[in-house]
């Protein structure tokens, strides 16, 4: 036996063993299910679901199929994950930097925040935000407007809705703004390299993003109508707001809890990343006359990101998976809608749980792939 064979043989055995174990479970499950008169199959996905869902990003009601209900749940899970990831990143970076602040008050507040929120179980925090914090909100009829036209009530957050005309032209104008920003940025870089002169790129970018879309509205090509939420009486004591956009309190509570919890871990990753950069870098940058902000932006962060990204990816994955706790507070995510109601109505436990598991696996792997790509992009390119 050659050395190569010696190396490969155990691997082949392991592979065979895994196939055997899975095969055994599959055949066993099939046999026993047929013994008990349970048929296995995914045909139910095209049947009418006949249950409604509270909150959906796509058009859905009980006359649609179970497959559509699955999609509703999946989109709701993605929505809460994306919102959570955005907020926890912003908050995490701010708190992470704040923890290293020379200011005693900022530094201490940040570390108190981290220690408190990461050491209380997430489910408890979700219950807290849903039952304690949101429930303290007033009923719709007693609500004082927030920012003039929005209403935060126990039944949800009501905002004005926008009804657009020629919405695609607005989209094009935003696209045009983005393209011109990219062009200006590369131009500004060139100018800086050639003449050492810095253009206020940031303010130009913001300006472009606002002015171009605003122009389309001012000239009347794109028209927008604002629909305000209006108080409506349901019964003698019960009111709701109608019209506009409403965000259910379940979503607010879940996003709040998930991002506040995960931000503590992100903050620690950011702090570790920044502290992982040797002091000499900062001192060298200071000695060539960069301001503290420039040091952070141009010298520390680009290097720190390489340390920050991999552990932060884990936190994003955790947040996505933790979003399945939504079922506890009636937010209709994948687990509540599909692995909950749909499973119960069809009784197809093995099919539905396997689909749900595969879905979470796919979601997590997609996030991993994205973050790995980003990590590679910012990694040190050795020449």
């Amino acid at each position: 036996m050659t050395n190569k064979q010696k190396k490969i043989l155990p691997q082949i055995f392991t592979l065979l063993l895994i196939i055997l174990i899975f095969g055994f479970f599959t055949i066993n499950a099939q046999m026993n299910m047929s013994n008990r008169g349970i048929d296995f199959g995914y045909g139910f996905l095209s049947q009418e679901s006949s249950f409604d869902v509270q909150f959906s990003l796509i058009e859905y009601d009980g006359s649609h199929s179970y497959a559509r209900a699955y999609l509703v749940g999946l989109l709701n899970t993605i929505l809460v994950s994306v919102l959570g990831i955005i907020f926890c990143t912003i908050l995490g970076v701010v708190v992470g930097i704040a923890r290293l602040s020379p200011n005693y008050l900022i530094r201490t507040t940040a570390s108190w925040y981290v220690e408190f929120f990461r050491n209380v179980p997430l489910l408890l925090q979700i219950f807290f935000w849903y039952y304690a914090a949101l429930r303290a909100l007033p009923l719709p009829e007693n609500t004082e407007p927030l920012f003039g036209v929005t209403y935060l009530t126990v039944k949800g957050y009501y905002m004005p809705g926008f009804i657009w005309e020629n919405f695609n032209i607005l989209m094009y104008s935003i696209l045009a703004a983005i393209i011109s920003i990219v062009v200006i940025r590369s131009h500004a870089k060139k100018i800086q390299e050639e003449r050492g002169k810095q253009l206020p790129v940031f303010f130009i970018s913001i300006g472009l993003l606002i002015v171009l879309p605003a122009l389309t509205i001012i000239t009347g090509i794109v028209q927008v109508e604002v629909e305000l939420p209006i108080l409506k009486q349901l019964s003698k004591t019960s009111f709701i707001y109608e019209g506009g956009v409403s965000v259910p309190p379940e979503l607010i509570a879940l996003v709040l809890a998930l991002s506040l919890y995960t931000a503590t871990f992100v903050a620690e990753c950011v702090r570790a990343g920044i502290q992982g950069i040797s002091k000499g870098q900062k001192e060298a940058a200071a000695s060539v006359g960069l301001t503290p902000n420039q040091i952070l932006k141009l010298v520390i962060m680009p290097q720190a990101l390489r340390i920050i990204i991999p552990p932060t990816t884990n936190q994003y994955l955790n947040l996505t998976k933790n979003s399945s706790l939504a079922a506890a507070i009636a937010y209709p995510d994948l687990v509540l809608v599909f692995a909950g109601t749909a499973l119960m109505q069809t009784g197809r436990a093995i099919e539905i749980v396997s689909i749900t598991m595969l879905t979470y696996l796919t979601l997590s792997l997609s996030i991993s792939v994205l973050m790995n790509w980003y990590n590679k992009k910012i990694a040190i390119k050795e020449k």
Binding site: N28, A29, R36, G37, S50, D52, S235, N318, L336
Partner: protein, 346 residues
């Protein structure tokens, strides 16, 4: 994440237990479930996570309720002692998987008998121990006195994984009312959310409404509307494929109902063995060999009546005297104007 782990465990246990119980469901008088129950020394009974009157645990962990009494009756018949029951509190979502996978042998958890559940997912309903119907609870001061007062935009709190969700849709759709369903996993969470004003109405089986109302902060500020929007025959369920076990559970329940019909209760059961009525004598095991049909001794039914009582006693103790539903309504014997009617034990 907890949810995923739990689902995964459920999934795995489903697969593993299906494998373990492979040879189940024999021929003739052989019953694997019966043998296993005798060997284990207790009946594995799936109950709710706490519904007063049906299945509810007190502070020291003792389970009571009319659903619990069905399991106690089975234990009395099979093992000779109504206390030899192990209770498994299950959510609406977990219950059928727990039964089909063999984690429990009887599911007595206010479960509605429907065609799709009976025919489709490997379950068999053995009877009805409570005739119920879905209703609505609202705040008294809302001025809503009937479902006719419901308006577009009403929000309704309920549990997931129940027929309630489906009935609710049928109801609101047929009346063209736009509604917001808010579905929670556990009953306690529904109560808390409704209590806090998240929803305008709470909908579930009327018996459930009556029971859950006691958990609200001010029970008297709420009323159950008179309308019933669905039929909800609740009863015990067993796995498909073990007809002997199925018969034992069915006739344990029937015995309780028939005992009431013939006026046999826990205190007079012993003296009834010398009754002149052959029907009564059969029911207490003094005549005939009824137990042999499922491989039990002849005292099985006497033990049920003595240790658990008849249906009327059970109802009075758990549902009427606790103030949940003082009137028996449809759950009265057929001889007294109700619809409780069971085949004769002979």
């Amino acid at each position: 994440m907890l949810k995923i782990i739990r689902n995964f465990v459920l999934f795995l246990s489903a697969v593993l237990l299906l494998a373990a119980c492979q040879q189940q469901g024999g021929s003739g008088k052989k019953s694997k479930t019966l043998d296993n129950t005798k060997k284990a020394g207790f009946v594995k009974c799936g109950v709710s996570q706490g519904l007063p009157g049906f299945s509810n645990a007190d502070a020291s962990g003792n389970w009571t309720g009319i659903d619990v009494d069905v399991c106690r009756a089975v234990a009395a018949a099979v093992l000779g002692d109504s206390e030899k029951v192990k209770y498994f509190p299950l959510s609406a979502k977990e219950r059928f998987t727990a039964l089909t996978s063999g984690e429990i042998d009887v599911l007595s958890r206010n479960t509605t008998w429907t065609l799709s559940r009976d025919a489709d997912i490997g379950l068999t309903f053995v009877g009805v121990n409570f005739y119920d119907g879905q209703g609505f609870m609202v705040r008294k001061n809302s001025g809503i006195n009937s479902v006719k007062d419901f308006r577009d935009g009403i929000s309704a709190c309920t549990n997931i994984g129940t027929t309630t969700e489906l009935n609710m849709r049928d109801f609101f759709n047929s009346r063209n009312i736009k509604y917001e369903p808010v579905a929670f996993e556990k009953a306690d969470e529904v109560v808390a959310a409704y209590d806090a004003g998240r929803c305008d109405t709470y909908t579930t089986d009327k018996s459930g409404l009556a029971a859950q109302r006691t958990k609200l902060s001010a029970p008297n500020d709420h009323i159950v509307l008179p309308e019933t929007i669905s039929k909800e025959p609740l009863g015990p369920v067993v796995r498909q494929g073990d007809s002997v076990w199925e018969d034992i559970v069915r006739w344990s329940l029937n015995t309780m109902i028939e005992a009431e019909e013939y006026g046999i209760n826990s205190s007079n059961a012993d003296s009834m063995t010398s009754s002149d009525n052959p029907q009564i004598k059969r029911l207490v095991g003094a005549e005939g060999e009824l137990g042999a049909a499922f491989g039990l001794d002849n005292e099985w039914s006497l033990r049920i009546i003595k240790q658990v009582g008849n249906y009327g006693e059970s109802y009075k103790k758990h549902i009427a005297d606790t103030g949940i539903l003082p009137k028996r309504g449809p759950n009265e014997l057929w001889t007294k104007g109700g619809i409780l009617y069971v085949p004769p034990a002979r």
